[in-house]
Subunit: 442 residues, 2 copies
């Protein structure tokens, strides 16, 4: 056998999650999954690997270049999924007759994009999507916003804004300037506003759409309109835009109707703000679009984005299904929660470390462990018989709240010495019942 | 744009999970994760994609052939992981200085093997591993069995058997017959016992190890020894084997010591049964090995297997780390739980479907939904205004327990008509408070 050692490293752009971070991520996903289920969304799972043709038809040119695509053992042209939306489209058409419409699903999974590696961007990352398929009712649009709101507040986030726009509003703006053939390139430029600033947007619009400085300025003066007041006042202020064309009228009315629903159901409407610069680069949106930012951490960008699309399954089927959904950016959200001090990072979820000081005390130690667990206290038994300093150090590093020490005297009398690892307070030779009380009271 | 439709299908050997099944799987994984955490195991995450050289060194020849291996955008030789153990070894060496030893981790993730497609075998499947690294104490071996026991009972399984063996026992048996150079091929044959039967094992041993019929028979008479009584009696009965050689002595003593620990900690020792034919094909086991079968469903094979290994990180580091762990076969376990009627498959987790009969009642319907959720009742609002037959049919198909109907009278009086979807019983125009009581009492 070859004895040279292999270098232990992850691929560039890929990463491991260590216990603290991985446990925190699990907790976040548990919280949001519970919210999804509470609104009647159900999970589905699709493979990480698909026929390349399933994915390429709907991916943008850029995403296609970044796809991990190869030939499998059967010489099939296959690729790792780059998002959870295209597989959803394939899933719906494939299982059409097994699915009840409207179909509400969520999916949590990893996707792969061979982007140029850069700080904070990974080639494998987790997406967390929830979508409402097969109904064009504004009720669904409103519910997706409720789910975003409930998910973020369930994670103890309070100060955030959901920025709303409508694709028909953007279409209408471009149509108004006679630019109906340049909408796609226009949206791509507007989508970069946060990154490059308004002056660069102006310049790019001018260049790429071959329009005058003045027209670029007029477009920018509209797309920078942001709601700062109650939505009813806002819609009065901008009512004049409805006269520009049918697209603008439809977009504005649809947005306003959805806000009415939210207002009437006593949703905390103050988090919603209309913002005409929200474009969502992805080609498939056709209706309401939104992004969500943390008020105290705007720089990390949107933590939850989405919108309505009408042609999800068009690559696979002639049946038109309208859908609306959003995607929580788990990685960004974790960064945000950490910075805001809302994400506890613990080295262990066990509250107590049980330390037997002799081989013979191991069964008693494990019995104590089982008793604690049966009382819903997570507990770990230190497996090695070492100097007590070493095991206490382990408890300190991992973050156990209590060490339960079992020495000769304790073993003989079936008692325990308890050390509170935070206060340092120690109580010797107490009964298991007392131990349970001390831990439960903490 | 190309208008030909793409065929919506998964790759051969890959599959989707529909909502019912996916939700059931999530619940199982939640239950076992809680058990892992309660014993101080913490989750980690590693990428699905690794350098091929990271994986090939430790994979068997067969697994290497089945690997999904390709060149990435940077012409790197990469592959999809085929298990969670090799990435764990890489992980431990790469993060050695960030990890506290002993290191207890669990990992739940998908792995990929391009096996020949056959019924019930998939090329992408989920593994659920938990391991205790960096201690050779029998305390860890005992704890892994506790975790297996707690996980299965937490899933309401009662009748199962954990079959125990020790690699040194198997080594000792082969040594006793002068076959110390043929242990690997011998173990591979014994590992097939359940599939091919004892006569074929005898024949294969004879042929592949070039031994006499008589020797093959003698080997088989030892490996078919199974404990049927209390472990202390069993070890008395087979005490003579300790005299055969040091390997057998060490193996038997180690197994007995671990059973002592389990017995003394008041573990339900009756589920444990020594079985000398448990070989675990994988080359890396060096100590205690085990498999777990469901008493009423032996045919589905082991639902949880594992053992102790001493050379986990040898491809990556000269440091020797001993570990012990097990892997829950989630797919098999799901099949088992389903057959035993222990796995509820529900089309929705929402208990109530709220049905507004007019567009104008939507906000009220959503408000009712929010009120229910705030009382911890999962509830869904039907988004479309249709004939009531259609929405009631949706509730029936998906499995909502209650339909809450909001018609004109209900909307005016802010009341609700509740229909119990199982009994068919209906109560008209009752208050939201009464609705909450009815649902909570159900």
């Amino acid at each position: 056998m070859d004895n040279t050692l292999v270098n232990a490293k992850t691929l560039s752009g890929f990463r491991d999650r260590l216990p603290k971070e991985s446990a925190a991520k699990s907790r976040i996903l548990n919280v949001v999954s519970k919210v999804f289920l509470s609104y009647g969304f159900m999970p589905i799972e699709t493979p990480h690997l698909e026929y390349a043709e399933t994915l390429i038809k709907q991916g943008s040119h850029e995403i296609q270049k970044e796809m991990y695509r190869f030939k499998d053992h059967g010489n099939r042209d296959v690729a790792l999924r780059f998002d959870l939306t295209v597989p959803l489209a394939r899933f719906i058409v494939q299982h059409r007759h097994e699915l009840e419409m409207p179909f509400k699903r969520y999916a949590i999974g990893n996707v792969f994009r061979g982007e140029r590696a850069q700080k904070g961007r990974y080639r494998e990352f987790t997406q967390c999507d929830f979508d409402f398929i097969g109904s064009s009712s504004l009720s669904c649009d409103a519910e997706i916003l409720q789910v975003i709101y409930s998910s973020l507040t369930a994670l103890n986030l309070q100060e955030f804004s959901i920025w709303l726009n409508h694709r028909e509003i953007l279409n209408g703006i471009f149509e108004h300037f006679g630019l109906q053939d340049n909408i796609d390139s226009g949206l791509r430029i507007i989508d970069k506003l946060d990154k490059i600033g308004i002056d660069s947007v102006k310049l790019e619009l001018q260049k790429e759409l071959s329009i005058s400085v003045q027209m670029a300025e007029e477009i920018c003066s509209i797309i920078t309109i942001k709601q700062n007041n109650h939505y009813e006042d806002f819609f009065k202020e901008i009512a004049y835009l409805k006269n520009y064309n049918e697209s603008l009228k439809r977009g504005l009315e649809s947005l306003e109707s959805m806000l009415h629903i939210l207002h009437d159901l006593e949703f905390d409407i103050s988090v919603c703000r209309v913002n005409f610069s929200i474009a969502r680069g992805l080609g498939y949106y056709t209706g309401i679009v939104y992004e969500t930012t943390l008020n105290r951490l705007k720089s990390i960008g949107s933590v939850c984005s989405g919108g309505r699309y009408d042609n999800l399954t068009q690559s696979f089927s002639k049946e038109q299904l309208s859908g609306v959904g959003a995607s929580i950016g788990i990685d960004r959200l974790m960064v945000g929660l950490l910075e805001l001090g809302l994400l506890e990072q613990r080295g262990t979820m066990a509250r107590a470390l049980i330390i037997p000081l002799h081989q013979d005390y191991l069964p008693f130690a494990h019995k104590v462990g089982e008793t604690l667990r049966q009382s819903n206290i997570r507990a770990e038994v230190y497996p090695d018989i070492t100097k007590i300093k070493k095991s206490l150090n382990y408890a300190n590093t991992k973050g156990h709240e209590f060490s339960l020490i079992i020495g000769e005297e304790e073993f003989k009398t079936k008692t325990i010495t308890v050390k509170n690892m935070t206060s340092g307070m120690q109580r010797e030779n107490i009964s298991l019942l007392q131990v349970l009380q001390i831990i439960k009271q903490n």
